[in-house]
Every structure is written in C-alpha cells, then in structure tokens.
C-alpha cells in the first residue's frame, strides 16, 4: 500500500501533464452504503485527483490522504476517508476564506496565553496546517526515517496518539495541541458536513449514523417514529437545489 502511494507521488512529481495521472474516479462504496445509495452510486462525483488540489502541495496531499485513510479506514461501516472526499473537503476549506483567516482577529501582540484563552497563534488555519504537516513529517523522519505517508499503519497510529495526547513537541515551536485540534475538527467536518463542500461523498458520513440530512419536516414523525428507527436516505443541499 505504502509503496503504491510512493510511486504515485513520485510519478506525479515528474509528470509533465499532471492530469494524465488522474487516479481512479470510482468511489469504492461499502456494501451497505452502496445499497442505500444504489442510484447515486452510478454517477459518482469525481474522485480525488492530485490535480484537483487547490491548496495542498504533493507532500501535503500525500500526508492528508494517508491521514484520512488511517483515521477513517474502509470497513463494513463506511468507505475510507479519501473515498468520502475528506481530503478534498480539507483542501477546499484551507484554500477558501476560512483557511485564509476569515473572521479571525489577527492583530498582535501575539502571546501563547493560557489554554482557557483559546486560539492565539499568528497563523491562519492554512498556515497552521502547512506548518503542522511539515512538523509532523519532521517528527516522523526523526522517529522512523520516513514521512507520515510512508510509515506503516502501526507507526501512523503511534504518531496520531502522540499528537492527540500532546506527548511530543514540534521542533519548529508549533503547539502540538493546537495543530491536532484543528486537524481533528477538519476531518470530522469533512466526514459530516454537507457534500457541497467536497466531503461526505454520497452522504455516506450521514448514512452510517442514520442522519437524514436536510429534510427535516418531522412534525408528524415525532409520534410516528418515537422509539423506532427512522428510514433514512439522506438528502443534501444539492439534492434540493
């Protein structure tokens, strides 16, 4: 698996026409989701294609793909993170206004402060992400001699546990806790936000938890389905536009 990703990245880096390297666009849906989504699955939205990234460079793209597939592996519950488009969601979020610091108060002086004072870095989310990926890869190189996308699953697990528990610190001074919080939040957003943002492809994130999406006229359902499962084929914004 790891070797395959390495090859693809190596090829992309040297490819003159990047588009030629388009990865398979097919969405590999789990049997359950495929069932729930039978008609939709016939017209899958384009799969993540390296050329589609608006923010990530190739190293970062490799990192994020490895990350979301590790955090959201393909199993009987759902397809894997890249097949849900979580990487695409994150890339667009970082390339867009949120990534550029929309609504973020960005005036100094800059102090780290106490955790109770919230986010205090002089970085937009995109800058934070970039520095955080670089720092995580630097950590991986030191610990395993390879970047995050090239280490084994068990090693990835170890890295994520270190990040989430703050057991390591980054050489570049970036607070691990802040990077992890942002990273984790964006993975969740990519899995559960409306598909118009690029993630939650085929509403598979919603399907696994039985969330019906935007259709929410439940006036009669409250009594009808009290204590009973609500039959769900989730609908998103673009299904109604």
């Amino acid at each position: 698996m790891t070797g395959q990703e390495f090859d693809r990245r190596g090829f992309l880096k040297s490819a003159v026409v990047v588009g030629a390297a388009a990865a398979s666009a097919a969405t590999i849906a789990s049997p359950e989701v495929a069932q729930a989504e039978a008609p939709a699955a016939a017209t899958p939205s384009a799969g993540p294609d390296a050329a589609d990234y608006a923010f990530f460079n190739l190293d970062e793209a490799a990192f994020i793909e490895a990350l979301v597939d590790h955090m959201i592996p393909a199993d009987e519950v759902s397809p894997k993170g890249t097949d849900l488009g979580v990487n695409v969601y994150i890339d667009r979020a970082l390339a867009g206004s949120w990534g550029k610091g929309d609504r973020l108060y960005m005036q100094g002086p800059w102090k780290q402060g106490a955790p109770s004072q919230g986010y205090q870095l002089p970085l937009t989310p995109a800058q934070l992400y970039r520095a955080g990926i670089a720092a995580t890869n630097a950590h991986c190189l030191k610990a395993y001699g390879k970047t995050f996308d090239r280490i084994e699953g068990a090693q990835r697990e170890e890295v994520l546990i270190s990040l989430s528990t703050g057991k390591i610190s980054f050489d570049n001074g970036l607070p691990v806790r802040v990077f992890w919080t942002t990273l984790y939040q964006t993975v969740i957003e990519g899995m559960f936000s409306d598909p118009i943002y690029g993630g939650n492809r085929n509403k598979a994130g919603w399907a696994i938890i039985g969330f019906p999406g935007i259709i929410a006229v439940h006036r009669d359902h409250v009594e009808q389905y009290r204590g009973k499962p609500f039959p769900t084929k989730p609908l998103g914004i673009s299904d109604m536009s």
Binding site: V77, Y105, A114, S116, Q117, G210
Partner: protein
C-alpha cells in the same frame, strides 16, 4: 469627516430583540425612530429557506449569522493577575450580527425570572442570615418585582409564540406545569410541544424520583399562530436545526418576523443597516446624551446622528462596551470597589451526562429548540434548602438534546477511540441511541468578575477592545458538585446501557467551546446610583435620555435563559418612555 444628520426623536443602536421591541413600540407612540444595525438585512424568504439554511458547517461551525471577530471582539482572562488576550474567534458565546440579532438564531427557551432573583439579597439574608452571602459576592436586589413585570412577560410570550404549560395561574397550581413558577394571569399562548422520547423518559425518571418535571416553555410555535400584532407563525417542524439557524418554518419567535416588520411598516421608523455605532455623544454638561456616531461599514463613511433619546440595544456585551468607549458613567474598579460600569459580569455553569441505551431510537434529529423536559426542584423551588450545601442560586435540569447535528454531536461512551474502525462503529451505533441530561446553573456576581477597556488590543475602528475578567468561584463549584450528583442519580435510575457521567467543572472558564450566549451584567440595574448604572426603567442614572436595554442590566445571572426578562424589560421600558418620559423628560427615579 463626519456628516451630521438631522435630529430624530429616538436613535436605537442594534436591531435584535430589544431594539425590535422598542422600535415598534416607540414608532407606534408617534416618535420618529431611527435604528442603526451593524449587520446586514436578512429575511426568512431569501435567507432562512430550504435548502441552504440546513447547513451545519456554515451556520454552526463558521458562524454565518454571528459577530465577526476580525472586526470587533473582546479580550479575556480568568483573573486580574492574568494578561488578557483577544478572543480571536467566537467560541463560548455567539452574539448575532444581522437584522434580528441573536433573536434569529436563538433556541427560544423563554422563562419568567421571579422575585427569587429580583430580591435575591433580601431573600437570602432573611432566610439564612447576612453571613451566608460571602463578602466578595456582590449580589443585590434589582429594584423591580415580579408582579410589576408580569404583564410584560405576558406580552413577550404572546408576541414570540411561546409554547408551554402553565404551572401556576393566579396562585392555583396546574397539573403538568412548573409548580415552582410565580403566578401568571393566564396560560401560554400555545400548548406545549409534542414530547420526544428523551424528554418522556426524563419526565418519568424525574417523577419517580419525586421531582416535578414539565415541558420547557419555548418560542417554537407548537401550532400555526397569529400573534396580537398580526405576525403569522407556522407550526414547528421539529427540524433539529433550531439553535444557530434562522427558522425555515417561521415557527420560532424571532424579531425579524414579528416586531421588526411591524416597525418597518410604520412611516415613523427608519432602519439603516451596515451602520456600526462607535460612540454615544455626551452633552457638555454631562447630564444628557446628544446622539451617536456611526460608520457605514460598506464604505467607511462616518455620520453623527443627533437624537433626543438614545437606546442601547446592541446585546449585553456590546452595550457595556459602548458605555465604556463613550465615557458614560464611572468605570468600575474591582480593587477600590468604586464605579459601576463594568460591574457584576456573570455567566452560567453546568454539568451534563450522556446516557446510552442500546437499541433505543431517540431520533435526535427530530427535535425542536425547546423539546427538552425540565425540573426546577433545585432552582425556583425556595423550599430546597441551600443551608447544608452552602451555596446561593440554583440550577435547572433537563433531558433531551441541544443541537444534535453530526459535526458537533456524536456521542460515544467514554473510552472509545477518537478515530479508526472502532470509533466509526461506536459513532454509528450510538448517534441515535443516546440522550443527554443537562444542568444549567446560575452564577452569582463576584467582585472580581467584571469588564473594563483593554489597554492593548483594538478593534477595526481603532477603539480599545473590552476586557472580560471572569471565573467561577467557590459558590459555583459547590453548586456544580450538587448538580452533577443529581444528574447522575437520575441518569442511573434510568438504567442506561452505558453512562458518561456528569462531573462538576473544576477548570477555569474557557473561551472554547460553546457554552451559552447568556452573558449578563456590566451596566446593572438597582435602586441607587452608587450600586448601579441604570434605574428600574433601564434609564442611565447619569444621563436621563439614555436607556441601556438588555441582559447587561441583570445584577446576577440565574440558571434560566435570559430573554424572557430581556423582552419583558424592553416592553416595560417602552411603556415608561411612552407614558412618562416623553411627557416629562428627566430622571424617572430620583437618585
């Protein structure tokens, strides 16, 4: 250069719930009213409609209807020894920034605060003695009574389409309602919402434990409704997208679909959006204000709007900021304990448990803003003896859901990994089969919890940000421990498959995550100018033609959501201005 405009009778700063109520009432009284709102006009038809309003990322996570902290924010710290730092993005509370203010994206829980709050110091001193109240707990009586406010509560409830069940009509206790509420003259305008499974189960468990559960009164119209002003409501759809969203069904009582459109139809009223008020102007003798300055945020142009009466309706936090920026009243000094502006900032506290019931479908997404069932046995129940527990105040408990949308709400039993197949399986298994019991607790005023101007950080207009100094005190910690225990007792009695038990909070208050937009105090009301910034009519003690309307006048915070008394006080103030002040401008209460 500042363009000076023609004088009007009334200028209203901010057009949310309070500004909307006062705009309508005062324009109807024949006064020329201009409302200045920093946000954009938005409407139910164009903005709060399907499918785009049902977007958790946009409205909950990215704060589309809320204050833009890049332009103006506050600085925060837990105590005076700490250096305050800017709240760089919203978190703990989410004030609005559109026409309708926070009233667009609130949930609608609407409570009547009683004399237990309005006479808090007298009540506790009388029952428990003066020593029961710690020296640094700066609580005080409010200078009004429940009986005086009752008609105005009624008016607000009928305006906002509150659904509920009365517990006490004219002193007669009503089965199924809150037996601890103060007497009301009549029932709510609408029957309670249909209970969801979680609120039914909580109701049963609470009743079995000897408590008195009732459906939470909420401005989610349980049926189609036309309010006394002719505003039309649809019936609530239990859509699950209530708090932080505009209501697609026009069922949530909000200013943009009630009082504001009625004011807009009145030729005496003018609304200017994108108009950011930067300062209230004082007369040379300091006894009156002369108007406000504001900036058109679309092009940076500056205006002076002279007015006979200035009403600050810019939300609890911003009202205090404008007072401090304008040099109105004496700023509060917590060390010397002098001054009043900035005093008694309060918030709320809480404790929550998540209950997991294997195979039981709660369908959390079918839920109205106020579908939760509640008990007030540890809140407005004065028979609940605080002496052995040694705290002032109380908490209400409720069972149900808050905003059960999947980016923010994915309950899993504690110990579940945060990612990977096991996490996914648990998320899939428990999303629909869990429910929450939540305690919302009061916060008593403390000498050191206050606002002032920050010495370092500035907003987009070059003005100092306001600095908030806040933390929970021993009183809140004691109450939190009691609340967590009662939550857990009820939860355990329900025999959940798994339980994430409630624990009392011990950490300092933090600016993340969201807790509640129930900020109170800063320009508190009272009986004399030494202890308060405004009198019982919300009129400034210093400048009689300035009224400061909002939860900023609350001398302490109860466990209830604030908008019941905020709305009632807005109507009460409108009456005082219409019927008394206009006829005879001057202080309505002699200092």
């Amino acid at each position: 250069m500042t363009t000076k405009l023609r004088e009007v009778d009334v200028v209203i700063v901010g057009l949310g719930w309070t500004g909307g109520i006062l705009s309508k009432e005062l324009a109807e009284a024949g006064l020329k009213v201009v409302a200045l709102e920093r946000g954009a006009p938005r409407s139910s038809e164009s903005d709060y409609s399907l499918p785009n309003i049902r977007d958790e990322l946009r409205y909950v996570v990215r704060h589309d209807l809320m204050q833009n902290t890049a332009r103006d924010t506050i600085t925060v710290r837990n105590n005076p020894q700490q250096e305050a730092l800017p709240m760089r993005r919203l978190g703990s509370f989410l004030p609005g920034e559109v026409v309708g203010g926070s009233g667009v994206h609130w949930s609608g829980h609407t409570w009547r605060w009683t004399d237990m709050e309005f006479k808090i110091r007298s009540n506790y001193e009388e029952r428990y003695g003066k020593k029961f109240i710690p020296d640094d707990m700066t609580i005080q009586d409010w200078g009004i009574s429940y009986a005086e406010l009752e008609p105005y509560y009624d008016k607000f409830e009928y305006t906002a389409a509150v659904s509920g069940k009365a517990g006490n009509i004219g002193g007669r206790i009503q089965a199924g309602g809150n037996p601890f509420e103060a007497p009301r003259t009549r029932d709510y305008p609408l029957p309670p919402l249909t209970p969801i499974l979680a609120s039914e189960m909580f109701t049963d468990a609470a009743r079995n434990a000897g408590y008195h559960p009732f459906p939470r009164p909420s401005a989610n119209a349980s049926q189609p409704y036309t309010n006394p002003d002719g505003a039309k409501f649809g019936g609530c759809q239990y859509c699950g997208y209530c708090q932080r969203f505009g209501c697609e069904a026009n069922a949530k009582g909000s200013p943009h679909m009630t009082v504001i459109p009625i004011a807009m139809r009145n030729p005496n009223f003018e609304l200017r959006t994108h108009s950011w008020v930067t300062k209230v102007l004082k007369d040379s003798d300091g006894k009156r204000v002369t108007g406000v300055t504001y900036t058109n945020v679309l092009n940076g142009e500056e205006f002076e709007q002279p007015a006979n009466i200035v009403l600050l309706c810019a939300y609890a936090i911003n009202n205090v900021h404008l007072m401090l920026l304008s040099g109105l009243g004496q700023p509060y000094d917590p060390v010397a304990q002098t001054g009043v502006i900035g005093k008694n900032y309060c918030y709320q506290t809480g404790a929550a448990a998540t209950l997991f019931f294997e195979g039981k479908y709660f369908n959390p997404f079918m839920n109205a803003g106020g579908s939760n069932a509640t008990i007030d046995d540890f809140n407005t129940n004065w028979a609940f003896d605080r002496a052995p527990l040694n705290f002032v105040g109380g908490y209400n408990l409720s069972g149900g859901f808050n905003t059960p949308l999947p980016i923010g709400y994915r309950p899993v039993p504690s110990g579940t990994p945060q990612w990977g197949s096991d996490w996914k399986r648990a998320t899939a298994k428990w999303y629909q089969t869990a429910m929450v019991i939540n305690a919302s607790g009061s916060v008593m005023a403390n000498r050191y919890n206050c606002y002032d101007l920050d010495p370092t950080y500035r907003n987009a207009f070059g003005q100092p940000l306001m600095r908030m100094t806040f933390d929970y005190r021993d009183n809140e910690h004691k109450m939190g421990r009691h609340a967590a225990q009662i939550v857990n007792d009820i939860a355990k009695s329900m025999n959940p498959t798994r339980l994430n038990a409630a624990s009392a909070r011990t950490d300092p208050w933090t600016v993340v995550p969201y807790q509640s937009t129930h900020n109170t105090g800063g320009t508190i009301m009272g009986t004399n100018p030494r202890d308060s910034a405004v009198n019982r009519y919300l009129q400034s003690w210093d400048c009689h033609n300035l009224f400061v309307v909002g939860a900023n006048v609350f001398p302490h915070n109860s466990s209830y959501n604030p908008t019941g008394p905020v709305g009632a006080l807005a109507y009460w103030t409108a009456d005082a201005i219409r019927n008394r002040y206009v006829k005879n401008p001057g202080p309505l209460v002699q200092a």
